[in-house]
């Protein structure tokens, strides 16, 4: 090992060691890398002036259009959370299914799936579920282990359920790596892999996971009914048609929003950013309607206007500024402008409502801070990557991966194991920003490694390590909000069946890449 390789290795060791101290990750990455750049200059291994590439890289992050989707998706989730839609859903679904043995656990899983799809940030989902679902299950006599395992596993689905934040970031990084890998192979019109591809790739594996969770819960209900008893019927609770109406009321709006957002991305109608903005906008409308039901007329107007625009778009050609527009088209364009004005009025009223009810400001603050946290890590990781590359670390990793026994499978396996272990101590964001740019280009250059498959494998791998005792971050989040009668050991034991399901799914995905690649290919028409 020469001096450059030694320094590159020491850089990784130093970062890992310093991270343990607990100073924010973004600055630990950046600060340590800077120190090694100075060391590299002093020993003549790398030029310090190489860091002149840092400001253009940061500017690249600032002007990256793919990453615009991040704050918009987070805002959508935070707004839905503040509207207390999750509580209401859980209550009504619990009433609907709770009188079956195991029904409450199944309701929690289904609500968790919706919430995970809406929020896309694990910590937030697990905390919300832990505060709402866990006490509900315990109150009705559920086994604390089953209850804790269910909440932890479904909350962690936010890692992989589209439109997960993790998939947006992973898609962006993988695309860069994929381009680099193809250029290195002399392919000068490289293929792209998009965030939408990763979303589509995640659909089947994520739904399969949910199906297996449900199967496990039904199995427990059949074999050990006392672990998940049916809820006793409350005397004044609605039943029959009234219950179905309540359920429809609670379910239809958020479900429709998620379907519109995901459907438009998967169907190729909208970019993730466009869909995320519409999703955040819809979440504001829904929240305003719930926060002030007596003043919901403007919101109803806005929703009707949006529906009207959709209809009009289908029956007439609304493109403005055409010379050959018929009288019918002109009239339709005029009508469209009226509807747009109505939509704008409704939107303004909705924003005013959520601001007046003091829902908007905290939601904006929370979203802004999560966004700033993610992007600051990205900036710190950019510095790290520059120095690591400057010291020749990239070539070192590439040679090491190429020399492994077992070829492609060996290289992939070692990367997966490393990411799994890193997942215990680091957030998915850091791993994606630091590890993926280093390992993905050599992996994607190997034969038979599809970028979507690799991305979904990585996402599910990180998701599993998030859940794995004793260090999985989900378990810490849940520990923080769980009632005292749930012991840490209950959480550890409770998640084991779910971790086994996850690992099983990873193995299946390893041998059946089609689970991830089939839907994106189908949607791309290939």
């Amino acid at each position: 090992m020469g001096l450059p390789e030694l320094l590159a290795t020491l850089l990784v060791v130093a970062v890992c060691g310093l991270l343990m101290a607990g100073y924010p990750v973004a600055f630990t990455l950046g600060g340590t890398a800077l120190a090694f750049a100075v060391l590299g200059e002093a020993t003549g291994v790398m030029r310090f002036s190489l860091l002149g590439a840092l400001p253009p890289r940061v500017f690249g992050v600032m002007t990256n259009e793919v990453l615009l989707a991040i704050p918009l998706f987070i805002l959508m989730g935070v707004m839905l959370e503040r509207s207390r839609i999750a509580e209401e859903l859980l209550e009504t679904m619990g009433r609907a299914f709770g009188r079956l043995t195991g029904g409450l656990a199944i309701s929690v899983t289904l609500v968790g799936v919706l919430l995970a799809a809406a929020k896309g940030v694990v910590g937030a989902t697990v905390v919300t579920m832990g505060l709402i679902s866990l006490p509900a299950m315990l109150r009705h006599g559920y086994n604390p282990r089953l209850a804790a395992g269910t909440v932890a596993a479904t909350g962690t689905l936010a890692q992989i359920m589209p439109p997960a934040t993790v998939l947006v970031l992973l898609g962006d990084q993988l695309n860069t790596a994929y381009q680099a890998a193809q250029l290195a192979q002399g392919k000068f019109a490289p293929d792209q892999v998009s965030v939408s591809d990763l979303f589509a790739g995640a659909v089947i594996p994520a739904l399969a996971l949910v199906g297996l969770y449900l199967a496990f819960q039904i199995g427990v209900a059949l074999l050990r009914p006392h672990a998940c008893p049916a809820i006793r019927r409350e005397p004044d609770a609605p039943t029959g048609v009234a219950l179905i109406r309540r359920l429809a009321d609670a379910l239809v709006a958020p479900l429709a929003l998620i379907i519109v957002v995901l459907g438009s991305i998967l169907g190729g109608l909208a970019t993730p950013t466009e869909a995320a903005a519409v999703g955040a906008f819809g979440a504001i409308l829904l929240t305003a309607r719930k926060a002030a039901p007596t003043r919901s007329a403007p919101v109803t107007l806005a929703i009707l206007a949006a529906a009207g625009l959709l209809v009009l778009h289908h029956v007439a050609d609304l493109r403005v500024g055409r010379a050959d527009a018929s009288a019918w088209d002109d009239a339709a364009v005029a009508a469209a402008f009226v509807l747009l004005a109505a939509l704008a009025y409704g939107a303004a009223a909705a924003i005013a409502t959520v601001a007046r009810e003091k829902i908007l400001q905290p939601a904006l603050a929370a979203t802004t801070q999560i966004t700033a946290m993610i992007f600051t890590i990205l900036i710190g990781a950019t510095m790290f990557s520059l120095v690591f590359r400057g010291l020749g670390g990239d070539d070192m990793v590439q040679r090491a991966l190429g020399d492994l026994p077992g070829g492609v499978a060996g290289a992939l396996l070692i990367v997966m194991v490393a990411m799994f272990l890193l997942g215990f101590v680091m957030d998915a964001f850091e791993i994606i920003f630091v590890v993926v740019p280093i390992v993905a280009p050599p992996l994607l250059r190997m034969p038979g490694v599809d970028p979507v498959w690799l991305g979904i494998l990585m996402a599910m791998n990180l998701q599993t390590s998030y859940l794995h005792p004793p260090l999985g971050p989900t378990l810490f989040y849940l520990r923080g909000v769980a009632p005292p009668q749930v012991k840490t050991l209950d959480i550890y034991i409770g998640v084991i069946p779910f971790v086994l399901i996850q690992l099983g799914m990873l193995v299946v995905l390893w041998f059946r890449p089609g689970l991830a690649t089939w839907l994106p290919h189908l949607l791309a028409g290939g």
Partner: protein, 179 residues
């Protein structure tokens, strides 16, 4: 000395919190403008590079302007396996050493390389590469220096507060971020 240091830290906190709270409104601007762009494109068939770039500018302002406020609110992720359960003095020591030896050098290095980069952009009042784009790229690039300045200030406040904790003149920082 102790009082002056506490006053400086409190002043920096107020300054960065004011900027952070202000830039949160960029978010609602992003939503409105992006929805407007979607409606214009899909309904009326008109596109606007100018409006699309406005969204990028709002996004960059959001996270570059709020990073320091996020540090103040303890919103930056830490590996808190040991930190969360550490004694208050240990946490203060980590914050002090981290601010002095990790954050401030990193921010200083970024500012050192960003300064000529931003100055070059100002010298030509750099325009968007798109003909009909915003002519304000030099302002967008200046955000890198603003990011460094605000974070540098907040790092000084963090170090000051940690030092005050170590000498017993201030309460310990909270172990966990709160979001």
């Amino acid at each position: 000395m102790v009082d002056r240091l506490a006053a400086i830290a409190a002043g920096i906190d107020r300054f960065n919190a004011a900027i952070g709270r202000t830039v949160t409104w960029c978010l609602i601007g992003m939503v409105i403008v992006q929805v407007a762009v979607v409606l214009m494109r899909y309904v009326l068939g008109i596109g606007s590079i100018w409006l699309s770039e406005t969204i990028l500018y709002a996004h960059a302002t959001l996270f570059m302007g709020a990073a320091a406020w996020t540090l103040q609110a303890r919103g930056h992720v830490r590996v808190d396996i040991f930190y969360a359960d550490a004694a208050p003095r240990t946490r203060a020591l980590v914050d002090l050493a981290g601010a002095l030896f990790l954050l401030l050098p990193f921010i200083g290095g970024l500012a050192w390389f960003a300064l000529p980069y931003v100055t070059r952009s100002w010298a030509i009042l750099e325009h968007s590469p798109e003909a009909s784009g915003l002519p304000l790229v030099f302002l967008l690039k200046t955000l890198i220096l603003l990011f460094a300045l605000l974070l540098g200030l907040q790092g000084i406040a963090q170090a000051a507060r940690a030092w005050l904790t170590l000498v017993g003149a201030a309460p310990a920082p909270a172990p966990r971020p709160h979001h």
